[in-house]
């Protein structure tokens, strides 16, 4: 029997039913606090997304936390060099679970124009697991917001994500 049907007929309009899982999914997807971190020019677009014209705060995602202990989302905004890779991994490991990563821009996705350089990591997914990839060089602020909304969808409906072999 569906749990909704156990509620008496007369109370159906006044009772809200949910699961703990559903409640946490709702809360987590609506309150992604990004870590204040930027590697290069994509970070400028990230700042722009939080400013007046694009206004990330409408979705409640504008709380950029300086400390990784209080952040949920790591936006890797820019070119990752091999020298920066260990600090980046450490920052990721300092974040408390559940944590999410967005690779923003071509450099973070697969190295971008520097893919063949000896000093650049060809894609941030070589270092840490990535949830959402945003293409562009740099992606526009709308693209970042779209990426965050995709992440929201992913958190709400994890069953929709197919594992790629």
């Amino acid at each position: 029997m569906e749990i909704k049907e156990r509620v008496p007929e007369i109370l159906r309009d006044n009772v809200l039913l949910t699961t703990v899982d559903g409640l946490f999914k709702w809360a987590r997807s609506n309150s992604l606090w990004p870590l204040t971190s930027g590697l290069s020019c994509c970070a400028i677009e990230m700042m722009c997304a939080a400013a007046a014209r694009f206004d990330l705060s409408r979705f409640g995602y504008e709380v950029f936390r300086p400390s990784p202990r209080q952040a949920d989302l790591f936006i890797v905004a820019g070119t990752l060099t091999w020298k920066m890779a260990p600090p980046l991994k450490r920052l990721y490991e300092q974040m408390p679970n559940p944590k999410y990563v967005i690779a923003m821009g071509s450099c973070a996705n697969e190295g971008g124009p520097f893919a063949d350089a000896y000093s650049v990591v060809p894609g941030v997914d070589k270092i840490i697991p990535v949830d959402v990839y945003i293409p562009g060089c740099p992606p526009r602020p709308e693209a970042l917001i779209e990426g965050m909304l995709k992440l929201k969808e992913k958190i709400r409906h994890p069953e929709l994500i197919q594992k790629v072999e």
């Binding site: 409640l23 309150s31 007046a52 979705f59 400390s67 202990r69 949920d72 679970n97």
Partner: protein
Amino acid sequence: MQGGLLVILTDKLFYGINYLSGNEFISQLIMVIVQIMAIFAVISLAAIIQVYMERRICGFIQDRLGPNRVGPWGLLQTVADMIKLMGKEDIIPVKAQRILWGITPMLLFIPAALIYAVFPFDDGAVFVDLNVGIFFVMAVMSQSVLMFLLGGFASENKYSFMGAMRAVAQMLSSEIPMAFAVLAVVMVSGSLKMTDIVAAQSNMWFIAVEPLAFIIFTISILMEINRTPFDLVEGESEIIAGPFTEYSGMRWALFFLAEYANLLSAAILTVTLFLGGWHGPVLPGILWFLIKVFLVIFLFMWIRWTYPRTRIDQMMALSWKVLLPLALFNIAATGIGIYIYNWM
């Protein structure tokens, strides 16, 4: 006893409980528990409202909209944040001193809640009407500095410790001008009791009698509760998050809650000392009180989103070289004023 709306409601509730239980002692015990719960309910509810208010006001000041997608007008945004914080992993640093580190967020909540015991919310609606009320407020308010020091020290993190040292320096230097500004108010009202201070403002608010003390008090209370332009304790561009750097999830949320409880108590203190407490025409006292308190909170938020953060040396210089001499001058001027007033 004549009382405001809040007192009448409390009396009605007491008679109701007394009628049901039939025992005076038990019903009084229940009323005490209800009152303590009411303080915590007010603090938690006010924190949720203030966080939403802050984000919307910040948005409007910066020509943005602020949170408006979660629930009607974004009202459920803070609820979502709180539920998320409850579900976060609880990280305890290996090197931290676990017991001290763990009890600090709870300890910080004690002075933040204790201070509400002496505030007059309405005519006769005060939990304990101490005859050293304002002295008690100052004493309890200065206790929170210990918790900042403890949290920063126990984290064993250099940024936390630097933040804690800053917190001590900042709070000590803000309390002294604040105490002298309050002293001028106490001289005019002639009492340390909170209800007497409010009663003395039935004809004329103290903001009109003591405008200099009001300005000094407002600046130093902003330093005391660590709000921008004096949020050096958690200045994120310099020391990450100050004493809170290592705290995650619900422990950090307690710090957050205590911060907003302090903001509310600072606003209540300003209203009680300078803006006539619950006095006002037509409307019941508790409504006037709430209107004034939220206007003062709006003022604090307006200041926060208008001015940039000061440097630590600028803040110390302002406090010791400007506010303290002005407060002393204000006390002398108040004394002369009272002498002339009595002589006339």
